[in-house]
Symmetry: C3
Subunit: 331 residues, 3 copies
């Protein structure tokens, strides 16, 4: 069996030499036999600083796209993960985040245990990552020198777009997409959209809402402005949310249950797992009232709050079904 | 009849020479006879790269504010649009977006056909526009050189404020306002506000919500935090939304119908075109239930969801009327 | 009695010499007797430009952390506020905003009268503060020189993180937190969170919603994604909102009344002061209907909208109470 993952890149070190950030231009997951052999021969398991010169033959033979790294005037960072074990260093955390954003691993498929422990809270600035204990002095110094730099974020996670822009995506505001987000081909994230690490829009998707950690949004589904997918942290329930294919959560709506395919939640309606929902049959009759969690992962549902009675209702999503039949007819 | 529009500015070209961005400091629409004549004499219809030297006499005689352009060490971009035809090049698209943001053309008054075709998806960075096929190499190179640059967005549309800041506006976060937005005098856009291209806050307005493509918000109207104006794309209906004067959409509220003047939607309520709305008369009696779309463009309406019955109700917006009478009394 | 506040720092002046921005690395409030004496001896009340040399002895003796300021090749700004009087200059406004963000003064404890008058609307750029009347020329010049700079905001208030990053906070997007925000230890502000000036998350808090001017959020309380605290400006009521300890406002929810401790508002529900709320007793019986404003500042309340009847209900927040008892049992 091949190693789990490998990457060679450039670290940012603070003044004490601690690694606070890593950039891996071409991370590798489950390499083929030749690359696997080359990696094992050259590198040891775990994360290590290596002089560019020592990586020359490996890069030239096995990852020629990384050749510019050989010109670096400082150490490179090499990370070799033999297996998908818990995260044991900052560099390993960055490698796993890169695997997600390079579309090499979908959310919820890797062991991310230890990630919060090993990521430092760092100032992300227009001059790169700055350790917090160095920030105030640097801000004062730069003001005195008449040189301005921006503190764009203070966080454990940097923005994805400074590490990789996957093909076929549009991002209105890169500060809303963390490294570790998985954006599939054809995904557009609007200014009110946000995608956390270990969260995905598989693409194509129009994302104007928030995709929480652990949530996966399927092909052809859209999140309207400020639409919410309930996270498992911070007030969220115990259910992991996912959104199937060709769903729509309307603007300012949200879901606390996973949705199947072709589901719609109308604008402004938030379905929580405990919401009692009236099921309406095709003749428009109420047949039953169930907890929303009983509808988890079911397809072809339309959720509304009746504007006269205030009752949350669920009926078959005829429009989506019709659309789907039409789409199939054309393929 | 004069030409439709003209501009002279600076393009950003990728390495193959394709124009991916244009900056026009002083675009012109419907010029007076003298300027019109000068433009026609000097330039040909369409978009063209021109050496600064060739534009010297025109600039000195007709647009002296552009004199700094003559010092450029590379080609300028000239765009002459004889009529308001469909967009045929990237430079033309940028000119029309500039006309909107320079307040020379309100939304929905120009032919924007072809705009998505002719705008490239580009990385907008702290070093300007970068073609996506050049980005990864540039990111690697800058890391090796210890120079950081930020990828702020990946989009067809850049942010307005890097091209023009119209008078009398405040913008909390420029990444939320696309070039092509029309912000009138006295408009403040808060951090959760967003204004798309071909969308307007005519001013004065307090915008903490989202103004979708094609939507115009009238004088004195406010959008509360995360308030939504339903777009005609992505899940929206077929109705084009507009908001009249002195309206308020409360925080986390939204509308799927165009509003007249002095309308209020309470915080948290989303009115869709299909919502059934109970009309309440001045004696507090329910008189009728209508679809919200029947109330489109009507003035002096207050929309609430009754907190006891869950019924969406509409009554005359007495507070707004009173306020309005008071305002008139003082003028 | 000691002076109210003092600071020495670096101003940004426009070309006419007007102060449009001040950076104070170590502002002081209610200094001890020795420092108070040193300040009074060296500086006069109000704001004044002073040559670095003239501040040498004061800095070396009394604020050695400011020593780098002595190397500045231009004037420093000194602000001495004998009392907490209305704001009389831009520099004084900046000092009071610094006091808030340095956690030296909680919101609503200082006299901020005059702040809007004395703060200039400025372009906040990657090259620092730029006066609006200088911006267009600077944008044109930098384009000609092939140098890009970003206009990040156009506002009276800059972003806090360029002035101070208080200990123990995380900020996903610094553009959403104004100078003058008070972020306590352990506060995380997510991409949809926003904190205005004179507003606080006392910490620890998870803030994915908006904290309006004047609002204070207590220890252990969380605001879900896009949750709203109604401001006293722009459509808000007359009631000043505050959120007690261990509260949760769910995603896309909001409040127009101040909450006591351990209150929960379910996701998607907006409570306004005028909402009529049914009180439900421990046996699940409706006992009374009251206006939400009558519940202001009460603790241990759970607000929901009943999903079958649309009725807004309030019951004792048993989960929070239980949690609280458990927490106490462990301490």
């Amino acid at each position: 069996m091949s190693i789990f993952a490998f990457a060679l890149g450039l670290p940012t070190l603070d003044r004490q030499g601690a690694c606070i950030d890593c950039f891996f231009p071409a991370p590798v997951k489950s390499p083929d036999a030749a690359l696997d052999q080359a990696i094992r021969t050259q590198f040891r398991p775990g994360a290590a600083l290596v002089p560019p010169e020592s990586a020359r033959i490996f890069v030239q033979d096995s990852q020629p796209a990384l050749a510019p790294l050989l010109e670096a005037d400082r150490s490179l960072m090499a990370v070799l993960l033999p297996t998908d074990a818990p995260i044991a260093s900052t560099a390993e955390a960055f490698l796993k985040l890169h695997l997600l954003s390079h579309r090499l691993a979908p959310p919820n498929t890797m062991n991310l245990e230890g990630i919060f422990t090993h990521l430092h809270t760092v100032a992300w600035t227009t001059e790169g990552a700055v350790a917090l204990h160095e920030l105030a002095a640097k801000q004062l110094r730069s003001r005195i020198e008449g040189r301005h730099f921006e503190v764009l974020a203070v966080d454990k996670f940097p923005k994805m777009a400074n590490y990789v822009v996957p093909s076929g995506v549009r991002i209105a505001d890169s500060s809303r997409i963390r490294l570790g987000a998985y954006l599939g081909e054809g995904t557009t994230v609007m200014p009110s959209g946000a995608v956390n690490f270990n969260a995905a829009a598989l693409g194509p998707n129009m994302v104007e809402g928030r995709i929480s950690q652990g949530v996966v949004v399927g092909e052809g589904s859209d999140l309207g402005g400020a639409a919410s997918t309930m996270g498992t942290l911070a007030g969220g329930g115990e259910i992991k949310i996912s959104i199937g294919r060709h769903c729509l959560i309307g603007a300012n709506g949200g879901t606390g249950i996973p949705l199947g395919d072709r589901c719609t939640i109308e604008a402004g309606l938030y379905i929580t797992a405990g919401s009692r929902v009236a099921l309406i049959n095709e003749r428009g009759e109420r047949t039953e009232v169930v907890k929303a969690r009983q509808l988890a992962n079911r397809s072809d549902l339309l959720f509304i709050r009746h504007s006269e009675t205030g009752e949350v209702q669920c009926r078959l999503n005829r429009k989506a079904i019709a659309l789907n039949e039409q789409l199939h007819a054309h393929n």
